[in-house]
Symmetry: C4
Subunit: 216 residues, 4 copies
């Protein structure tokens, strides 16, 4: 059976830290977030009279742009919070992080499909599935780093680890729950997605508050 | 009512500073500024004889490219000046900054529309509106950081804060004022926009000089 | 005969280190990895009924996306390991690194060809050749830095240098060996490529273990 | 008359250095160098039999890709050398640098035209003109920083300044000289361009050697 040969990576990692992992990650986040706009095609109409209508007709693309910008920004915010608590890296963390980046870099495609096929169940299902995959990868690196990997800074409180775990699960769970909505009511699913962010925030705050018996 | 749960972000922010916010921002600025060129399509003519005319006929796209490059560069210059004075970040600053990045990353689209539909009021109005939105987001993070947020370095003078506030308002105000021009005389609006930069510079210098009674 | 005039670059290099080489490299890796998605075109069908079939029909593009993401990620992982051991740069290292970046930045094109012409020997040969060229460049900078260039940190063990050399050769050798498969059985070649990663990993570990008489 | 109000920028610059200017510049260089590949379109033929011929027929695009990669890499190498000697920035240096970035970010467009219209004088003239403009901007920031701006580190030798000035002029002068060749023999111009790099290198080394009476 194949297992990750971690030795040579880990040794070097302990010496120099995680600077280049963050540099590559910030690069991919910044590019994925900025490439979204390339998926909105300029209307090919030539008459100035038809242009306003054509531009307004692109509203599903604008909505998909805003939605995916927020989704990717959210992954970046979580990434920044998590890597503040991570002291070291190893090969497993590096590849789990690359898995997250692979799914994040994929998101412009389902975003474009959603923008051009608004109201299509297939587009909504593709979108929700893609976000679930990215969310699972986002949860995976945190669970590994805070669990078996043992890569956190020594001063990180158990309560904070558990709060971040709840937060990391809130994303995949909520998007997975919207999959049936995406099949039967694609427009409703989009509206629900825009609401996911404050909801997961609240779940996180509530969980964190329970641990501490003080507001998080 | 929903409010920003700031605790967990703020705590970490004070420890590690704003390096990754700047990394993501510089990435988005650099990409948005470089993606502009992708919106200029190579003329599909096949005969070498027609190519010169086709290339020259793209002048509205070249003009839109230069205009948007300067607009985005301007946002970056302001961002750099502002974040030199900002000592700490919190969740609100981070999301206001992401709002700015969302509007900056959107600009290649109105730029492409402007290049392909020069002289169309709809294209000019879309462009002016997009820049106004980005300018408002640019003003918002500075007003928050220098006001309620209280995130500035302790040694920043009140006069400098007020000067930067005037500067931050000059952008949205000037572009908003050009909206009626964009409706009735789209070409005139483009010419005015190219002149906005020295104008807003002068407003800023004048305001700063008044505070100090010395040239800014 | 033309030779590399290295003096003026080397002098400066020893003073300031290799920070900007890494910044440019991480940028190119991040962009190449993220641009891959732009090569997957949104199906132009308009009916919602045909969309699921059209999306599923893109599976060769999805496979090519995952494959190239892993290939480029692998080059980055090797780059990170190698530059941890490199203490100084000179003009030759800088240009060999730029050569690697040139081939890495080229990879989105053969990836797109492979995705749109799955099962075509020409597409598979183009892909394998491109990866071999990038792998050779990746090996070249390491052999130069660890050999004639003498740019490594003084504390790097000979065994580690030799292990990294074996690792650097495993990539080009494996992809070159798949060239005949690509000609006669393009689909088989793709399956083999996905298996190359653990294989080269194992070769590296085996070689490293031989040197040390302990697991690598 | 309008002049650059430099005060507020300069003051801050002296405090914090030029880190973000380099971050934005490296970002634009990395993106421009990587976007080049997007300009090579995948052949639209559907039959596997025609694909090899179609791929080989793209050779002018491959040549243009390599040429522009080297041109942009060259600007980056010069940029890195120059900014190692620059200690401070001011508003003029920042805007001259942004001017360079504007012309560098423009280069993917003439590259695409050259790749798709090989042998067309218009394409060759557009390409040469674009590189001349970028080269002039590249020379401009160095002449300003090393001259009127007075932004160099105090320990930089006059001979080194003069050598870098000769180097900075070699680019625009050589590409300007090829403009007539581009008009009458576009293919010859491309061949000459590939040779420009070692030539300008030699001019630089020769000039530097003269100053020092020792090989550069």
């Amino acid at each position: 059976m194949w297992k990750l040969p971690r030795h040579e990576d880990d040794e070097a990692a302990e010496e120099e830290g995680i600077g280049r992992i963050l540099a590559l990650s910030d690069g991919v986040f910044a590019i994925a977030i900025t490439l979204l706009i390339l998926e909105i095609a300029v209307p090919a109409t030539t008459s100035a009279a038809d242009l306003p209508k054509a531009l307004l007709g692109l509203w599903p693309s604008y909505l998909a742009y805003v939605l995916s910008f927020l989704v990717i920004a959210r992954f970046w915010v979580t990434h920044r919070l998590a890597f503040r608590l991570i002291a070291r890296d190893d090969a497993a963390l590096m590849w789990l992080n690359l898995l997250l980046l692979m799914f994040v870099a994929f998101l412009p495609f389902p975003t474009a499909v959603l923008g051009q096929h608004a109201g299509s169940p297939a587009a909504a299902v593709l979108y929700a599935t893609s976000v679930v995959l990215a969310s699972v990868a986002s949860a995976a690196y945190w669970w590994y780093a805070s669990g078996r990997g043992g890569l956190l800074r020594p001063d990180v409180a158990r309560a904070q680890v558990r709060a971040m775990r709840a937060r990391s699960l809130s994303g995949p769970v909520f998007f997975a729950l919207t999959l049936p909505i995406a099949v039967f009511a694609p427009y409703a699913a989009e509206i629900v997605w825009v609401l996911v962010f404050p909801l997961t925030r609240m779940v996180f705050s509530w969980f964190f508050a329970q641990e501490h018996e003080q507001p998080g």
